[in-house]
Symmetry: D2
Subunit: 271 residues, 4 copies
Amino acid sequence: MSVDDLIKEGDDVLLYLDLKRSYILKIDAKQQRFHTHKGFIDLSELRGKHYGERIDSSTSFSFYVLKPTIYDYVLRFARHTQILYLKDMSILISHTGIGPGKRVVEAGTGSGALTAMLAYFVRPEGVVYSYEVRQEFLEKATKNLERVHLANYVNFINRDVTEGIEQKEADSVILDLATPWLVIPHAHQALRGGGTFASFSPTIDQVMKSVEALKNEGFVKIETLECIVRRINVEPGKTRPETLMIGHTGYLTFARKVDKEGPTPSQMEKL
Amino acid sequence: MSVDDLIKEGDDVLLYLDLKRSYILKIDAKQQRFHTHKGFIDLSELRGKHYGERIDSSTSFSFYVLKPTIYDYVLRFARHTQILYLKDMSILISHTGIGPGKRVVEAGTGSGALTAMLAYFVRPEGVVYSYEVRQEFLEKATKNLERVHLANYVNFINRDVTEGIEQKEADSVILDLATPWLVIPHAHQALRGGGTFASFSPTIDQVMKSVEALKNEGFVKIETLECIVRRINVEPGKTRPETLMIGHTGYLTFARKVDKEGPTPSQMEKL
Amino acid sequence: MSVDDLIKEGDDVLLYLDLKRSYILKIDAKQQRFHTHKGFIDLSELRGKHYGERIDSSTSFSFYVLKPTIYDYVLRFARHTQILYLKDMSILISHTGIGPGKRVVEAGTGSGALTAMLAYFVRPEGVVYSYEVRQEFLEKATKNLERVHLANYVNFINRDVTEGIEQKEADSVILDLATPWLVIPHAHQALRGGGTFASFSPTIDQVMKSVEALKNEGFVKIETLECIVRRINVEPGKTRPETLMIGHTGYLTFARKVDKEGPTPSQMEKL
Amino acid sequence: MSVDDLIKEGDDVLLYLDLKRSYILKIDAKQQRFHTHKGFIDLSELRGKHYGERIDSSTSFSFYVLKPTIYDYVLRFARHTQILYLKDMSILISHTGIGPGKRVVEAGTGSGALTAMLAYFVRPEGVVYSYEVRQEFLEKATKNLERVHLANYVNFINRDVTEGIEQKEADSVILDLATPWLVIPHAHQALRGGGTFASFSPTIDQVMKSVEALKNEGFVKIETLECIVRRINVEPGKTRPETLMIGHTGYLTFARKVDKEGPTPSQMEKL
């Protein structure tokens, strides 16, 4: 086991009890105990343990000490505001080619959940420009991003994105807001040639308007999809999809920017 | 428009006609023409254009010149062998916390589609160890990874992974093979404390055996899910999900490694 | 408007307020008022109205008076015990060819929800034989069937169906119980040649065992399917599938009885 | 085995080979042989057999002789024109309370697949009025209904239903046509008080317009749902949903007719 796996002052740890109950806390010399519904954890015991070890609460419940992943962090942001669900974020990121080194414009910031995912994946050379008109959301998101050590990769911009995007030559523009169609002309201007666009919308009405706006701006490769995740309960003799599920979060619409111009030869022929 | 957007010798370009027809080709001084079902493209015209520009074929069909994303590349590998679909790869990567700098063990390599996605996201400091027992698959995958400039981030290992994994302290182990349960004990040894595990399996029988093996090795946070993607046809007056869809690719099973040990206090009580 | 549509003593009426709130009550001279969360309805006002008319509660909420359909009735049984959901019942009935005049064996009765649907559709000449080992369920189901005027089409049998089915030459056998595989040999004996079999099971483990038992008994045309229903919220500017949905109720397995015998010529060849 | 199960002149039989191959034919003294891709069946051998018995083709393939169900028949109509799929028909019938004795108006007839299902379930006392503007469809549907001995329960009406429905006091009106919103005012007039309405539409645009029309006519209990059926391949070691599936057929919209009138007391309050 490597020294890296030693839990030390300042580390974030995920205390895992079961699929429904886990806690993220920061190891801090000033705090002695962490209280849960299943007794308290003695933090002095925690320091010096390795990740993956077990620690028992005062009432003898077994917790495991894990290092939080970006997924664990973002799940927690998600509880506090209406956000893009993780499955949607995952697909959005890989379909737009976002990855290390990319320059990405995002609007709106919301709780910063998608911002954190984007920042995580563009590291260490990329950057995320995140627009949010509501001051209080931006403050919360800034705190969230600092909490997960990703604020360095984000420029927060407190402005109404329907009035314009100041960045140019962006690799991708990602929208998660109520009126994406109002931002699509700005997205066209902000993107580099061939750049990728994605938008998340809960309703089909929003999708219809967005697709129309994308066509008007001359975007190509316009595709809309919906991702549905079913959890499966796997247990001998009882294996089955879960009874209650999230049936719908939203639709994802993708497109690529190309030059806007007059009719193409094949369109000319039809005239 | 930046100089970066100028198409130059050696570049890969995606020639986009419509959602069903697009082509990736390399700009190569020795090649004069690229032939498609809709006439040929004069490549000398292509050099010096910017990404996002239009180019018309000899029969006046309009193509757009895009830079291929990792998604565009991987879609093409996928045509040649049974692979993890992109939606599954996307969710697999974000749920396991894979990102820049991570050390990931993967088996089996197959066509290299998932390998390419993993390599893309662990850049520039991370590394992927990819096991494949079949020599001819490994050769094909190596070519595929070189083609997309990601081979530098991958160590290919021509060995039967059911006999063991030589790496230690891996951040993640990802399995896409017929008998994941035979590899799960090795995955436990290869992972660092708290490390993430994921497995893709088409059948529920495989999932049942894998979950049992994960429990036997003491993994925690074991979850299985299925991701279903529906394409939506968005067109005024004709908006609807597509008639024919991929109804099932496989199940994703996730887990976290913790120390394997004797019964916990709460289990002791029950004895 | 016909006289049939006049509400009269002894009629069942469905008082409809909105999609979440509606009530079935019997028009009874002895009862003056029907109390709801939205005020009371004066029943003397109700008599002499036509179906489809509006009636206002004491607190001025508008209810509509509808005649309950079999669907409205069965939804109410369903609240009291674990039952086959309506979508599953609907598909089960049409896939097995159940309709007017058929002789159907059902086990177990449960709350009688499926029994009521079966009885409704085999009328006026058909009959349902319904097995239930638990006396208290049978009593409740009998009351439910009497309440909806369908008890005349049902023979309730208080016996453990895993010990045998006394009927012969049944058109269909329908199972909704924990261990269908134990009843499948009896189903084979009870069915006429070519008769239809269906089974509802929540878990895939039950399906696997049932399909194996069906093959052992020589059933053919064995098919398993799952039916998923999504509710769509249709509202200008807000149209979308509902967020929370029933993700899984169970699997439906269908088969046809044929003579059980030795290997077929084509199987012989393989020997 | 009862005499009923003896195959005789004039009977329809379903010759079942496997899930993908089965044939319906009529026993006819003038025909000696029935030819399939797997050899011919000697029909003289068939007469006198019982349903459920095996019969071997000239090339030693084993077929089973089944009595076709309404489901088997309707599947065959469905191949010839765009129709309501069986799952949708099943749910449509049970949600509208259609059953023995009901008077149902249907438009348009199409191939008669839904007409046949409706006729099957309203027997022996009910009746289906089926509107179809295209003469050639009506002829085909009439033949289909005669073929399955259900034409006696259907009145075919060769008229454009958007111009009106002549029936009154119908229990249910069922629409499967391109512009349901044009027929909804007529449906309101044709239905008895509290009568049930259902419409099948492939696109969400049609649903939006239909729901608006239903609200304008004062219908209540308006609900839209989509039914998705997944086939499960159940085989030891290989159990999984099928790869390719029908992802979408259409949406089902349901409503109940009530009296159309001025604002309700609760609406008045808001004014």
